[in-house]
């Protein structure tokens, strides 16, 4: 079998051995329901508190303001829908951007059907939101600004602190989807003017099916899942203790290793980008070169289509993605690439490679060679390339 070169860490990651080890006792030994009164359950309770503390510390916020969810999508839905509901009497206007994840976009579209008004801010060609655009969009009836911390496709890091400050200046709540950023770049939610923040375990070598929403103390946000009194009555459902424990371990390691790990990833990232740009013509890098997640690489190869590229890479054991994994199966080109101004046929030819700590320079060299071969092969097959060549002959 071919060696697997996994370059889709933004889609999901392997759960770390240390994380699995931390979780295991909570499946079959300390399996007690954290809400029970007997002593046996106190291990579950303590384990949950331990993770809460790790995350609170990581974000520089009080641990009791961390609420566990089943993942990033639930956290996004919760933050947006419950804010919309809780602050309805103040207004019905929400501001977001054109490059949000579907968990935010589709939630906003849902709210539009329910009578809310949503402004989708444009981004520049790097995917950056202009603070003055936010400032201009805020209205007296604006109740929420939700802007992602970093984009999942093109890796662009938004000026969150500045955007949050603008929202606050106008007395508007500020939520950020930090699913791609948390654990990859330093975040202090308090200093960065963040009122709510979503994150997800499986993006940082933690387990799937667990995430959290930070809700600043004092916000009137009600529960999204009603029922039992878990999570201080804000999120019902028997606590997923093993996954919460795993999340804690994953966050702990992600924060500890962040500096070293991401320095290495940045180096590989830039090496990969530089070589491809030099060695494959008619290629562009999507997303900001400077305000960029350490592990994100995103190219558009002119004249070719993404899925073909993915399948050919797959045949060489290389796992990559074209646009967002969540929307594969869909035929539309990525809304993010369209928002940064790419024409359709170029958006269709995009490739996302997201690095992880296990990727080596040898892996990347192999990927570069394969990319050169495959892109050239697909171009030879492409009527668009044929037209281009004929025109410029």
């Amino acid at each position: 079998m071919k060696k697997l070169i996994y370059l889709d860490h933004a889609a999901t990651t392997a759960t770390r051995p240390e994380v699995i080890e931390a979780m295991l006792p909570y499946f079959s030994e300390s399996y007690g329901n954290a809400s029970s009164v007997y002593d046996f359950a106190s291990k579950s309770k303590n384990a949950i508190q331990h993770t809460r503390k790790i995350i609170g510390d990581a974000l520089g916020v009080p641990e009791q303001d961390i609420y566990f969810t089943a993942g990033g999508s639930e956290a996004d839905n919760w933050a947006i829908k419950s804010t919309a509901e809780a602050y309805r009497s103040k207004g019905n206007h929400i501001i977001t951007s054109k490059i949000e994840h579907h968990a935010v976009l589709h939630t906003c579209q849902y709210l539009e059907k329910k009578g809310y008004e949503v402004t989708y801010l444009d981004v520049d060609e790097d995917g950056l939101i202009k603070p003055e655009d936010l400032e201009a969009a805020i209205r007296p009836d604006t109740i929420l600004v939700t802007i992602m911390f970093a984009n999942n496709e093109i890796g662009t890091i938004e000026p969150i602190k500045e955007l949050g400050a603008i929202a606050h200046k106008h007395g508007v709540l500020f939520h950020t989807d930090a699913v791609q950023a948390f654990g990859q770049i330093p975040i202090n939610a308090d200093e960065m003017n963040i009122d709510m923040l979503s994150a997800s375990g499986h993006k940082l070598n933690g387990p799937k099916g667990i995430g959290f929403l930070y809700i600043r103390k004092g916000l009137k946000i009600g529960p999204f899942i009603h029922g039992g009194a878990q999570e201080r009555r804000r999120r019902a459902g028997t606590e997923n203790v093993p996954a919460i424990v795993g999340l804690g371990k994953a966050v702990e390691i992600a924060i500890e290793t962040m500096e070293e790990r991401t320095a290495k990833e940045k180096e590989l990232r830039d090496y990969l980008i530089d070589r491809i740009m030099k060695e494959i013509p008619y290629t562009r890098v999507n997303g900001s070169r400077t305000k960029r997640l350490p592990a994100n690489v995103n190219f558009s190869f002119q004249f070719i289509e993404g899925e073909s590229l993915l399948i050919m890479l797959d045949m060489e054991g290389i796992c990559a993605s074209s646009g967002s994994a969540c929307t594969s199966g869909s035929l539309d080109p990525s809304h993010v690439l369209l928002a940064i101004g790419l024409p359709h046929e170029i958006a269709h030819g995009s490739l996302r490679l997201t690095l992880g700590e296990e990727n080596t320079k040898e892996d990347i060299d192999f990927v570069i060679e394969q990319l050169k071969r495959i892109v050239s092969r697909l171009r030879d097959m492409s009527p668009l390339y044929e037209d281009f060549v004929k025109k410029h002959r």
Binding site: E305, E307, M315, P333, E345, S382, P383
Partner: protein, 146 residues
């Protein structure tokens, strides 16, 4: 997600390329939807037999495979016979396509028609049963499946 036949025709596409001074060329699809197929036919004017078929395709795995299969299916057939190569025939020859990729086979059918139409126009003939092909097979609305 693809059948072995599809994968084979994607990995080893038959008849990729151009035909210089082809009897007919047709290009269908559009970049918005992410699929463009161009088909070249070399047709014997006497016998009306398709001597050679070539294609170039910008598109997904299924688009490449259906183009490849379509060229295989029309080769050696008369124009009239080629006209009867439907998208169903292409799909069957490939052992099926995922539902979301069925439009690729329609595109392949249209590509054949477009090339034949071009041939007919250039040679001022009328091919019985051939209608002016749509240059663009646009996506159906994505339906909720449930």
């Amino acid at each position: 997600m693809y059948s072995e036949k599809v994968m084979d025709h994607f990995q080893n596409p038959r008849n990729v390329g151009e035909i210089e001074e082809a009897s007919g060329v047709g290009t269908v699809g559009n970049a918005k939807c992410g699929d463009i197929m161009r088909m070249y036919l070399d047709i014997d004017e006497e016998t009306q037999i398709i001597r050679e078929a070539k294609f170039k395709t910008f598109g997904c795995g299924a688009a490449v495979a259906t183009s490849s299969m379509a060229t295989e299916l029309v080769k050696g057939k008369t124009v009239e016979e080629a006209l009867k190569v439907t998208n169903k025939a292409v799909m069957e020859a490939l052992d099926g396509l995922p539902p979301v990729k069925v439009h690729c086979s329609l595109l392949a059918e249209e590509a054949i028609h477009a090339a034949l139409w071009d041939y007919a126009e250039k040679h001022h003939i009328k091919i019985e049963g051939l209608q002016k092909p749509k240059s663009d097979i646009s996506e159906e609305e994505e339906n909720e499946e449930w």
